[in-house]
């Protein structure tokens, strides 16, 4: 499984890497703009990501904007929809609605992240 972890906080990013290191080939980005470019390159190389863990609040480009552009890229290139899980500190209904429906994410996890919950979700989407 190829996984892209998008997280601006070093400690959080390292924690996620450690969580998934046994299950995936991991690449990382620190904001939405960098993530978009990596996703585009992966598609061009024919090695798309199977999973994107996408933080919402980030500098340069936030997760919601990156999500919309990734979905647009997939549609334009006729690629299959990648499992994109938003990782967020936002837990208000408005944020959830926007992330799930307007941005068309696959699912979301609310911080603080629990490894067991993350692995259960990956199993549900048959990624591990």
């Amino acid at each position: 499984m190829r996984c892209l972890i998008v997280e601006d906080e070093d400690l959080a990013r390292e924690g996620l890497i450690y969580f998934l290191t046994d299950y995936a080939e991991i690449e990382t980005a620190v904001n939405g703009l960098e993530a978009l470019e990596m996703y585009r390159q992966a598609l061009e190389k024919g090695k798309p990501f199977d999973l994107v863990l996408l933080d919402i609040i980030m500098p340069e480009m936030d997760g919601q904007e990156a999500l919309k552009l990734i979905r647009q890229m997939e549609q334009q290139q006729g690629a299959k929809k990648t499992v994109i899980i938003m990782t967020t500190a936002l837990n208000s209904p408005e944020n959830m609605e926007e992330a799930l429906w307007e941005g068309d994410c696959t699912d979301y996890l609310v911080k603080p992240l629990v490894r067991a919950d993350l692995l259960a979700m990956l199993r549900r989407y048959q990624l591990i």
């Binding site: 400690l11 959080a12 924690g15 969580f19 911080k111 603080p112």
Partner: protein, 463 residues
């Protein structure tokens, strides 16, 4: 008097003439009765003269008598004319008049008098007693006046009493009463005025005056109550605003806590994994604990800051304006980051103000919340809030400017009104800006103005 002496003189002249004529007649008769001397021509002549004189006197008497009768007719006509004038005057007068005899029977009442009480003249004159027209409660007093008039004890009196209309209604009257002789008998005469309207007006005036006096008496009390009520309302609103601000702040705290909590959680879980894999060395353990403690101390500081932010100041004191702004922004920027709202502080950082810094921070937070809501409502692509600190003519001026498009002109005068909000009920309280204005105006002795700048709204606080 002149006429009277003239008439007396005429009478005396008539009497004198008649006496003289009678004397002459008697002389003539005596002469005739006496035997006429046979041949005395002088005596015959004397008789003729006497007779002639007598006839002449008789003629004079008749003439005087005729003249007197003519004068009497003229006097009678004058008397008749005079009586007619008086009758016309009294009978047709609009002022009710009366004449009452000693038994209290109404001997005369003009039409106005009878009409006032709802009667016809024929019903009243000679048939009714004045007591029939007086309200029973006032009868004793009126009777006293009546007796005084008959006895001639008092000069003409003017008094008020209630009368009774034929239909039972009360008529308020002013009586102008006097007495006099009529046919040698003492009677009571006078006139009455209907003062019902005046009395009603006086009563209204009196009631109004009483109300005014009562109002004046209780005015101070009511002012105190109103002031206290207003203060209580302000206290409740302040409390409500504080709760709302605390709710917002708790949201900010939650966001501020979520990241460190996440890091701490990840660190703990990583330690567990490292321990399971047997790679958790002492050095790694020390690193993980140190990182975890950093996160915990950060959480603790956030809580302390939160508590201090809302701790009421006991007395007003000088405070750094830039410091208060930075502290407020420190709490506020978590929610700004969440929505990618850029927030910047510019200008003079050495300004010092006097007042309750906690209240000021709350006022500023309310203005910032309002700006953030406007930016989110209008879905601004690159939302930004700028806070500018300036010294203008020895006054500290703080400007909060956003790029949310500005305030609609039709509501710009209402935005500081209590409970005014552009959103439906339940979404926002509508007291944030009201409280900000109250704090700035009343507690900081400053002024707050709202206007539109190039890209959005501008709130200018002059302290």
């Amino acid at each position: 008097m002149g006429g009277s002496s003239g008439r007396a003189g005429l009478f005396h002249r008539q009497v004198a003439a008649v006496s003289c004529a009678a004397g002459l007649l008697r002389s003539a008769g005596a002469l005739a009765a006496e035997p006429v001397p046979p041949v005395a021509s002088d005596g015959y002549c004397q008789g003729i003269i006497s007779l002639s004189l007598a006839v002449m006197l008789l003629l004079l008497f008749c003439l005087l008598l005729l003249q007197d009768r003519s004068r009497r007719r003229l006097a009678e006509r004058a008397l008749h004319d005079s009586e007619e004038r008086y009758r016309l005057l009294v009978e047709n007068s609009l002022v009710p008049c009366y004449l009452i005899d000693q038994q209290g029977v109404v001997r005369y009442a003009n039409r106005s008098m009878c009409s006032l009480f709802g009667y016809q003249q024929d019903d009243v004159v000679g048939h009714m007693n004045f007591r029939d027209f007086v309200d029973p409660e006032h009868l004793t007093r009126v009777e006293e006046h009546f007796r005084a008039r008959l006895e001639g004890r008092e000069a003409p009196a003017r008094y008020e009493a209630d009368g009774r209309h034929r239909n039972g209604d009360t008529i308020h009257l002013e009586v102008l009463a006097t007495g006099g002789l009529c046919g040698g008998v003492r009677v009571a005469v006078g006139s009455v005025l209907d003062i019902s309207l005046r009395k009603r007006f006086e009563r209204l005036m009196l009631e109004e005056q009483k109300q005014r006096e009562e109002m004046n008496r209780t005015l101070e009390e009511r002012i105190c109550e109103e002031v206290e009520r207003s203060r209580e309302k302000d206290r409740l609103m302040l409390q409500q605003a504080r709760f709302a601000a605390m709710g917002e702040m708790i949201g900010n705290i939650a966001h501020q806590w979520r990241q460190p909590l996440n890091k701490l959680g990840l660190a703990l879980q990583r330690m567990q994994m490292e321990q399971e894999k047997g790679i958790l060395t002492d050095q790694l353990m020390e690193e993980r604990v140190a990182n975890g403690m950093d996160q915990l101390l950060g959480l603790s500081r956030t809580i302390d800051d939160f508590r201090n932010f809302f701790r009421p100041d006991s007395d007003p004191a000088p405070f750094s304006l830039a410091g208060a702004v930075q502290k407020t922004v420190g709490f506020f920027e978590a929610s700004c980051n969440e929505h990618n709202i850029k927030i910047a502080i510019e200008g003079n950082s050495s300004l010092v103000c006097n007042g309750h810094v906690t209240e000021f921070r709350q006022a500023l937070l309310n203005i910032l919340n309002n700006a953030r809501d406007a930016l989110l409502d209008n879905r601004i692509a690159e939302p930004a809030i700028t806070i500018i600190l300036r010294d203008e003519e020895r006054r500290s001026v703080l400007t909060v400017r956003d790029n949310a498009g500005g305030i609609k002109p039709e509501i710009i005068d209402k935005i500081f009104d209590p409970y005014f909000t552009t959103k439906g009920k339940g979404t926002r309280t509508g007291i944030g800006l009201y409280m900000a204005k109250t704090i700035i105006d009343q507690q900081m002795q400053g002024r707050i103005y709202a206007s539109n700048a190039a890209e959005g709204a501008e709130f200018r606080i002059v302290l």
